[in-house]
Amino acid sequence: MSALAAAPAILEAKGLSVRFGGLFALNALDLTVRRGEVLGLIGPNGSGKTTFFNVTSGIYPAAAGTIVLDGRDITREPAHALAGLGLARTFQRSRLCLPLSVFDNIALGAQERLPQGVIDNLLRRRTLTRTVAALAEEARDLARLFNPDLAQRLDEPAVALGMIDRRRVEICRALIGRPKILLLDEPSAGMTHDETNQLIDEILDVQRSRGDLTVIIVEHEMGLIERITDRCVVLNYGRKICEGHFREVAADPTVREAYLGHS
């Protein structure tokens, strides 16, 4: 903990607000995430957790405030530029390209390394074979971290996979771009309790093996949050209401009130 507290900030939001008409989905949020930390972002439904992910990954514009990623202001960067700056995410509802093969889905996350030009793509076929071979190797290694069986199924359409494997492929797609920070939006959604625990263990293994990978996780399952996060931030109505280790946060009366309402 103390080592983490001293680590430099990798993501820093200052006075961040997002508005939908008259509603503040995020209201002057200050949030600092340190390098290598696993941060849990929790709060009741509609408290602004996913909105924070969406504004950070450039899908929503910020109404006010700034977001700094590894020393660089990314508040106004378009979504497609952020992957190249080291930000990757998953989605609450699994968003794989289901008719495409597992490999195609994972390779999409490695945009920075894929040839961009039309001539390069269409006429330099050797570049294609080479990039496919390199990425297939990498995709296989990544998939093996999660499930050795998955590594054998790279050419199968993603639609043939079960929910837990789809989640794994989504995380592989995010990791193959070698991000500095990974945003996980409710990885447990649509899975059983056991599957969730298994997936989380795998995520933790990957995170530890990658040293300085920072993870922000939005999750409703508190047992899971308690087990894996170094620190938690609690949101309610777009505001930060509490911050600290899970045990401190869980004991906080404002948090209890936000979740359970007045008794």
Binding site: I59, R95, P99, L100, D104
Partner: protein, 408 residues
């Protein structure tokens, strides 16, 4: 279960280990199946195009339909695909031989050759639509307008006094003009999605028609006449004599259209098996996720739209030169819808499906004259029937398998 079965076949190691004898034998037999099916299809095409007796046409069609579904049912189509994918160059050779065979059989049938060339023109436009609609997911309900752009470019070049532009340049220019006029649509197309994008292109197609009707310089509703193509000194209005046989002059156009269609097929194939193909698929399937993973949506949409329009424009220039006369009513909304229906009937995103679908859509209304006004009704019923029996088209698109290599 089906999936599982397919995957176990795919897992046969191909590069690392020496190929098992059984696998090699199966690949060879797959290729034999492929060659036999191509020969049968070529025979059926030549017969259908040539046949005059309407009952014969109808019964052949029914037989083809039954054969098709039997082939799909007993995995013959899958074997054909494997056979073709396993031997790329022999496959091309077989296809060229089949095309030349059809040409030899129909060598004196003017109307048949004209129809065949028209089928190829439509197939080329639909390959463009495959890039736009099938890959990038861009609705384009004005493909006929881009065909018209190419046609009217060729016609206008012929009208111009004193400047002689070679016909090859005219065809390329047709593609360029289609792209230039299409660029007017880029902004609305990037800002709309789904039904809204469809409506935008629909409106554009109608606008294009009204513009042609009103424009005196482009002949108004009467249209324009065109001279035949002269390519590298060879006048396309001359009959061809080859190997002691005389081919109707329309064979010139069929050969030119074949070349264009082959080029389009190659382009679409290269695109599909490239990183651009994967990106276009991602843009179609999930724009938000694609964006988050670093894709510039606008860039890939514009590329797909442009490539599709080039093909339509070039096909249009050849089409106009071939028929020798064009008018606004060659490029109506109905034609655009027909092109979209070809893509859907063939199997969205499968470049080979476009060929049989274009054949059905172009040929059938011509061949079934005997029921007069009801022929379009019968045609519509047939399209619905195919889609009921095989909802993803005649040749559904397969999952791209880059890791296993070409042997999908």
């Amino acid at each position: 279960m089906l999936m599982r079965h397919r995957s176990t076949q795919d897992e046969v190691p191909r590069d690392a280990l020496p190929m098992a004898a059984g696998v090699r034998a199966r690949r060879t037999s797959d290729f034999a199946v492929f060659a036999a099916v191509v020969a049968a299809c070529a025979g059926a095409v030549a017969f259908l195009v040539h046949a005059e007796d309407q009952r014969l046409v109808l019964s052949t069609l029914v037989a083809c339909g039954i054969a098709w579904f039997a082939a799909a049912r007993f995995r013959v189509i899958a074997a054909v695909e494997r056979g073709a994918a396993g031997h790329p160059w022999p496959t091309r050779l077989v296809l060229v031989v089949a095309c030349l065979g059809i040409l030899v059989v129909l060598r004196e049938d003017n109307f048949g050759l004209l129809m065949l060339a028209t089928v190829l023109i439509y197939a080329t436009v639909c390959l463009g639509l495959t890039i736009q609609l099938g890959y990038a997911g861009l609705s384009n309900f004005c493909a006929a307008a881009f065909l018209g752009c190419g046609g009217y470019t060729a016609a206008a070049l012929g009208q111009a006094e004193g400047i002689a532009i070679p016909d090859l340049a005219g065809i390329l220019l047709g593609g360029a003009v289609a792209v230039a006029i299409g660029s007017l649509l880029v902004l609305p197309l990037l800002r709309t999605r789904g039904h809204y994008a469809a409506l935008t292109t629909l409106a554009f197609g109608v606008m294009f028609n009204v513009f042609l009707d009103a424009n005196e310089m482009l002949g108004g509703p009467q249209g324009l006449k065109l001279a035949p193509i002269t390519l590298f000194g060879w006048d396309f209005s001359n009959d061809l004599s080859l190997f002691g046989m005389t081919f109707s002059f329309y064979a010139n156009y069929v050969l030119l259209c074949l070349a264009l269609t082959a080029a389009a097929l190659a382009l679409v194939g290269l695109l599909d098996r490239s990183w651009i193909g994967i990106r276009l698929d991602a843009v179609r399937l999930d724009e938000v996720a694609a964006q988050v993973f670093g894709l510039r949506i606008a860039r890939w949409k514009i590329l797909a739209f442009t490539l599709g329009n080039v093909l339509a424009g070039m096909a249009g220039a050849i089409y106009a030169k071939m028929t020798g006369f064009i008018a606004p009513n060659n490029f109506t909304l109905g034609d655009s819808l027909m092109m979209v229906s070809i893509v859907i009937l063939g199997g969205i995103g499968n470049r080979w499906g476009v060929l049989p679908a274009a054949l059905i859509v172009v040929l059938l209304p011509e061949k079934l004259q005997f029921i007069q006004e009801y022929r379009l009704l019968l045609f519509a019923v047939l399209v619905i029937l195919v889609l009921v029996l095989s909802p993803s088209g005649l040749l559904p698109r397969r999952t791209r398998t880059l890791v296993a290599g070409r042997q999908a």
